[in-house]
Amino acid sequence: MHTIKLLAVLEENKQGQLARLTRCLAGAKVNIRWITIATLDKVGVVKILVDRLEPALEALRREGFTVSTLEVLAVEVPDQPGALHAVTDALAREGINLENASGFVTQPRKRAVLLFETHKLSEAQRVLQKQGLRLFTQAEVLAI
């Protein structure tokens, strides 16, 4: 399966919490490739793409963090008008919802990546591949 595994950390939504997290990862010599934070009242979920997942999980658990992993899809989008629309349109036609999507450009005017969560992981994968869109594997996304 061409899916990406993210680290998800539950944190109190208060000062200093994120620093505690990044300190822990730095200490474990884990490199952060991408990060996003979603908050709900007094808690936040920090989702991180790291180069070494298992050591990161272990280090965070040891420090008492509440952690989990999350499978998401990363689809390659040409960096040009209408390209993102092709992705969202294909998914919408099949009734697949995107949750917590975020995108970044990897090579200006050439290539971008859309990272997203969905309930229908394998269906979304099938639909996108049928459209001829490329899904990244964990190794590929880390190599960007």
Binding site: A8, L10, D41, K42, N100
Partner: protein, 433 residues
């Protein structure tokens, strides 16, 4: 399994004989306080009640109530029925506001309180082979010492560990192979978490078989959580310092309601607002009259504890009637937006959801705003913030159904709420009303 008794004659006394005994003892106690306790002399005189007027158990209703405030006013020794030199031990009850309440025990009272605990422990299956780790606070609080002497009476080895210091508790438990512990529900939950973090599996690494949990009201769901966490049977214990401490009522092996030792305490369940009795099985405030106490007899003491009578006979053969677990304190009742709420109602909703952790806090602030903060269970976190939002909605909805008012719900990270090792403080009232 064969039912074992400590004092079968007393525990299985036929109802009619038990009630005759109660009446005889009630009349004796009224005579004694009328003769020896000026406080009661005045109260009885004021209503013109002579001990001879007590002709049936129902006549207890003519007697005056004794309240919390009466005990504080009588502090230090105003309610003694014997000379001070006849008393052997002093306990005080946790005075959270103002003066404490002082409770004196004579030699006979100490003997009785230990004997009642012996009945309780044997009813749960405890024997002289058991080792009790007593994790209650030793000292002025009755919880630890009264249990201590009762357990010794049946021949248990008692480890007077006292509360807190989880590292040491674990060490004692491992080295001496404790088979039973006695603690509060909040410390039991805290200790379960501690063991989990330490990687200790109580089923494999410890010898625990039973837990005696009391001193704070708790729910059936909390009982199950503790039972599952330790792999033990948990027995509910009810008592209050004003009535000797633990051992007033206790569960037998059936673990359905607590037998209240009616040869020592005359119980009534009343409507806290009107003082009138409620029908059997209906919730109300427990009112107790001591029937055997020598140093400090009390008439119709308002416990402020809300319970209900279970009138049906128990399969264990004990004739002393059972009361349900305490569902609240008349004093703990919160009034939020005009609705009466007991914190235990909130607890029972929270403990019924496996996605939630064990720690919670009820915050009241502003103009009657209630927020329930509850920790998420670490195992239930799947990384999705949508899941958290759904869960928050679900908790709020369940609470609304139970309380008839919708509180704000805040999910918190595991371990982020303050933890207490003694009596848990679950309500923070910051209202500016």
């Amino acid at each position: 399994m064969k039912t074992r008794y400590w004092d079968k004659a007393a525990e299985c006394l036929r109802r009619r004989e038990l009630e005759e005994l109660q009446l005889e003892r009630l009349r004796a106690v009224v005579r004694r306080v009328e003769r020896h306790v000026p406080f009661y002399q005045r109260k009885l005189e004021a209503i013109g009640l002579r001990p001879e007027k007590i002709k049936s158990l129902q006549d207890v209703r003519h007697l005056p109530f004794t309240t919390n405030a009466d005990l504080r006013e009588a502090y230090p020794a105003g309610l003694l029925a014997v000379p001070l030199r006849k008393t052997l031990r002093l306990h005080t009850s946790s005075g959270t506001t103002g003066k404490p309440k002082a409770i004196f025990f004579s030699r006979r009272d100490l003997h009785h309180s230990a004997d009642l605990i012996a009945r309780c422990l044997v009813a749960t299956g405890a024997t002289e082979d058991d080792i009790l780790q007593n994790m209650m606070t030793y000292g002025l609080f009755t919880g630890a010492l009264v249990m201590h002497y009762g357990a010794e009476k049946i021949g248990c080895l008692v480890i007077p560990a006292g509360p807190g210091n989880s590292e040491k508790q674990l060490l004692l438990m491992q080295d001496f192979r404790s088979t039973m512990f006695h603690t509060t529900p909040s410390y039991a939950l805290y200790f379960a978490d501690f063991l989990e973090k330490k990687g200790i599996d109580p089923r494999r690494h410890l010898a625990l078989r039973r837990g005696y949990i009391g001193a704070e009201p708790y729910t059936e769901q909390t009982r199950r959580k503790i039972e599952q966490a330790f792999g033990i049977e948990v027995y509910n214990s009810y008592g209050l310092s004003e009535m000797n401490g633990p051992g007033v009522a206790f569960e037998c092996a059936a673990r359905h309601g607590m037998h209240l030792w009616e040869d020592h305490f005359l119980m009534e369940i009343i409507d806290p607002a009107t003082g009138e009795p409620v029908p059997d099985g209906q919730p109300g405030e427990l009112v107790l009259t001591t029937l055997c106490r020598e140093a400090m007899p009390l008439l119709r003491y308002r416990t402020r504890d809300i319970t209900a009578l279970i009138p049906e006979p128990c399969p264990c053969g004990r004739t002393h009637r059972r009361i349900q677990r305490i569902t609240g304190r008349a004093d703990d009742m919160l009034i939020v937006r005009g609705v009466n709420i007991y914190p235990q109602q909130i607890e029972s909703v929270l403990m019924g959801l496996p996605e939630l952790g064990r720690n919670y806090l009820i915050v009241l602030e502003g103009l009657d705003e209630m927020t329930v903060k509850v920790e998420l269970s670490a195992a239930a976190f799947d990384g999705r913030v949508e899941r958290l939002a759904e869960l928050q909605q679900l908790v709020a909805e369940r609470l609304r159904t139970e309380l008839l008012t919708r509180p704000r719900v805040e999910l918190c990270a595991p371990g982020s709420l303050p933890v207490s090792e003694g009596k848990a403080k679950r309500v923070l009232d910051k209202r500016t009303l």
